[in-house]
Symmetry: D2
Subunit: 351 residues, 4 copies
């Protein structure tokens, strides 16, 4: 028996990736894929790679009444600020929601003013919303009506830091997270900065002070550590289309070796279906190169005891574990399915 | 019930792609993956993307006796000149063979002297071998003991040309095939020409007179057309890792329009599970960009009646429809399985 | 003593490249760089690479009266259809013009209707205009008031074909030109097709029937050969930012070997300052990889006597020999300077 | 009058870049370019981009006696450990040396044991050697016989940090330097890790604990600050061929704003011919994209007073300001020439 899901905002990259996954998911049926811009057009006229595989599926106009009458679960893949006005209606109709936008990630309403520049329109729901990182909130996701899927840079940053932060191995006052990410993160809308001649071959810092994902990284680490944690975070655009790597530069609270750090990762991630701990081999540290197309997150680390420091790494495919893949993982948990269902893709490599 | 298959030469890119597909194939079990260089090492120490997904599978030494006692079908992913010395032994033990090397592609023994510079060691088997292009030889593949999988540039060239050539629409004395292909085609062995700083951003013709795939393209087109066909073929290395596009420049035998050409494609490919005919949309012609990770071949064309010419296109992922994916497709046919089994991957895009 | 030049339309890639060259040219002073969109802004706010090297140069509004009073030579780097309305005024004021747009490339007015879809507004000037390819029209350029700089794909196509066409070595009824070109060719204006995630890693045919550069290629080859020549030409977008390669697939009029073809190139290009004939070495054929940043055009060829065919290659940097570099070369000729002045850049490699 | 220079080890990328610059330098003549591997072969058979521009220059065997009799200044572009055995002989003959290897960068002999694993063979010369970063050691370079050119990652790291470190603006106990660098840094020798399919599209940390450039960064910062400074440094290979960006994550000693930090940069770099301070514009921070082919270093920064932190950036072309370009800059200083002579290249962009 199939679960009926709808995707609101299906013409972007995250929506397209959700379609790629859900159209092939054995327990799910996509009953609607909406797009304001492309309503009425075949999905494959926008997502050219999906030509012939979606039958005659067309984008539809967003019609919440129709969606709540047809679906049981809704993916919201809409710009920041949009889903806060939709979620209550969907939940009240008895559906469950996976929000891929930032609107329900932060628990404190005032943070939306600080980081996003708007007053949240439905602050009560923030208390109910669950941050959709299964490695940290699996049990809450199982019971959630509303799951707020993490940002891709935040996913990588948190997964790199969580085990050692939680175990008290690092100086929480000096945490620097340096992220490198491909161009698909910025979405499907062209502008001067994403024009190919301008965007190819960049190594370009952006939002070097005030990147919005900082808010959720700090929220989750503070929660894990039971104290306020602040991070220095700088994302960098690099020439890739897909892939993100977070490098956390940390100082250690004690003289530690690699084994202690490894144990922290093994303890927290040893049974995680989508986390692979990289420790040796010809490429010793995580690299998104080996993850493309899959929902894996590779984590790894380097410890330099003589300098009392370590580097912690997490590599993801930003459209998979950083967006649509993680949403499907959360959906599987919510629906009581095998967490891996419909996500059984080995990475495509070399690519 | 699983079919037991072995992969000889599993450490290269084609072998790795075969492993990616077969390890996830519902009706197949990989009983051996051999590698002279890496025997005894975990498969995931070479194919880093397959970390954690193959359990503890290790490369083994090539031991034909062991393989014929354990497997029922063997993939040979070995360099040119090697499989001709192995196939007879495997067939005699009652197994079936998918040879990914060029050793059994050409029917006339003297062509190996002309194009490959060696005297074939088992010319009798050439008569039995079937050229593994399902769109042309499906029925013969079904009954074959020995299938010779086409080269990637040849696959693209033949699939672009076959319908119009067979239908007599083009001047067979003036066929120019211009191929562009990514770096993974050249395999896993590094050399000066594949060193990243040298190979990145190239637009580089190679084997501009005498490319070996010409032999199989001419063989298959001649067979289809019932006369000797010769092609002018120039492959070009471009900066991609994956993907190949064949552009065939042809002149028409009559005043034709797009519809006539389209009908030829529709007639021959209309029911093909892995061929998509591209005719319209924001990107009007095939581009391997929209195929990566999948077994699709996108074909398309442009007709210029005023100049009596046309351009015919075929785009593939060179490691999939150009190598391992096509081999799995052939295997499915040989084993009486659904042709799409284990190949149900939608392309990863954008990437 | 410096020659005073103005650049109309200096904010695009061709304009930026012209600025890079002219600002460093020992005999030239840039007196105006106009841009409708960026008038009043520093040039370096658009051309970020030129930060600090142009002093405080600002873009100005286009004011033809001011330009004719200050400059002696004008570069027009404007969209198709614009310069035809400006040139007469500039010439009448006694200035000379290098038009980088297509408006004065074709000699027959009706071709503008056929290929560009407009009726030319100043057809008389077409007769006077000189096609700015020094290797063919050097003497006429010297005396010209109006030089129409060739398109980049046309430059590569003509330079690959001219010597063998002129010498009567090829069948002029079957000439196929397959061009591969980087993204900077399409200019500075972003759209969906040039959005980095969409444009990266493409191997994408475009204008496969009816590419506008066909008109000028046919014009120049017809002129050279004294008969009407038609070409089958298909440009392909590839993942590079810079660089273009033309591959001409031709059939030979006689049994020829490499030496005959080489002699044709040597005869026509032996003394050309910017053409290098590539014949041997680890990379046997031209590749734009080794030309980036310079005004060189590398030509080369492969001959297959047994099939009576050859492939002819020309590689350029599309913004240099394909646009601004060639314009500066023409300017040097017009001004009686050393043809190499201000163009003494060795290619940047590897890049 | 030309200065006679020799390049020892001219077949690598740094040697090739030195040749590109010196062959075009108005005050220099290259009297020898040595290569063990390619002795006797034309330089252009290895450096294909230099075809036709170096006349018939051939690589020669290394013959120190011949070199000291012909040249007055020698570039050593040899692997680590080699130049320590050559320099004394060259200096004693009265020549001056620019060593591009790490052999004379560190002042304390024991650091070679710690970081490079060898006992230095000429420790006395370490005292005399000058670290070839003109922005810090210009006056000493002027009088030096032996200049040790910095590593490329070290150049970017030091130039990003020097002004704020020297001015006491940052917590010197928590300095993390995250470097991203293109593939040309690793040199011309192919191996598995640099094979194009493996190296393309990587975001790959390497030497995450113990990168050798740490030693020179710490040496120079300690010297500048008058106390021992230690840095946490992680280089990352990214998909570019050229370009390096250093991002230094630092914490501030006081509540600072952007202006204070800007003043430190302006004070130290305001008159530097090759440093550009990036502070505004459509791309607000340095990006090597806008530097390729030139000797510029773009520096910039982001200050987040609320978190007491800043990010400091420096972008270079690793073969120019990170290697050969910086060596030519040092040479100009040593020879009393204009520091910009032969380095007057504007960046090539877009590329």
């Amino acid at each position: 028996m199939s679960h009926r899901v709808a995707i609101v905002g299906a013409s972007g990259y995250t929506g397209g990736e959700a379609l790629r996954l859900l159209a092939n998911h054995p327990s799910v049926e996509v009953v609607a894929a909406t797009s304001r811009e492309y309503a009425g057009k075949p999905v494959s006229a926008v997502h050219l790679h999906l030509r012939s595989v979606l039958g005659s599926m067309k984008f539809s106009e967003l019609n919440l009444e129709k969606i709540v009458s047809e679906a049981e679960l809704v993916y919201l893949s809409v710009p920041s600020g949009v889903s806060q006005g939709m979620v209550r209606r969907i939940l009240e109709a008895g559906l469950r929601v996976l929000d891929l936008s930032p609107d329900f990630r932060l628990k404190e309403p005032r943070l939306y003013e600080e980081w996003y520049g708007f007053t949240h329109r439905d602050p009560e729901l923030l208390a109910e919303s669950i941050y959709g990182l299964p490695e940290i909130h699996r049990e809450e996701i199982r019971r959630a009506r509303l799951v707020a899927c993490p940002g891709c840079n935040a996913t990588a940053a948190i997964l790199a830091l969580a085990p050692v932060a939680r175990e008290g191995l690092i100086d929480l006052d000096h945490v620097a997270v340096d992220v490198k990410v491909g161009s698909s993160e910025a979405g499907r809308q062209p502008d001067q900065g994403t024009h190919h001649p301008e965007r190819a071959n960049v190594i370009r810092p952006y939002e070097a002070a005030g990147h919005r994902h900082v808010a959720e990284v700090e929220q989750e680490l503070s929660l894990l550590c039971g104290r306020r944690v602040r991070v220095a975070m700088v994302p960098h655009a690099v020439g890739n289309v897909r892939g993100a790597l977070a490098t956390a530069h940390v100082w250690l609270t004690d003289t530690l070796d690699e084994t202690t750090v490894w144990r922290a990762y093994a303890k927290h991630y040893g049974r995680e279906p989508f986390i692979r701990i990289v420790r040796a081999g010809p490429v010793k540290y995580p690299d998104p190169k080996y993850i493309i197309g899959s929902n894996f997150c590779d984590v790894g680390f380097a410890v330099e005891p003589s300098r009392g420091r370590a580097a912690l790494f997490a590599a993801i495919d930003n459209l998979m574990k950083g967006a649509a893949g993680q949403a499907v993982q959360c959906m599987n948990i919510m629906l009581g399915l095998d967490e891996r269902e419909g996500l059984n893709y080995f990475p495509v490599s070399p690519v």
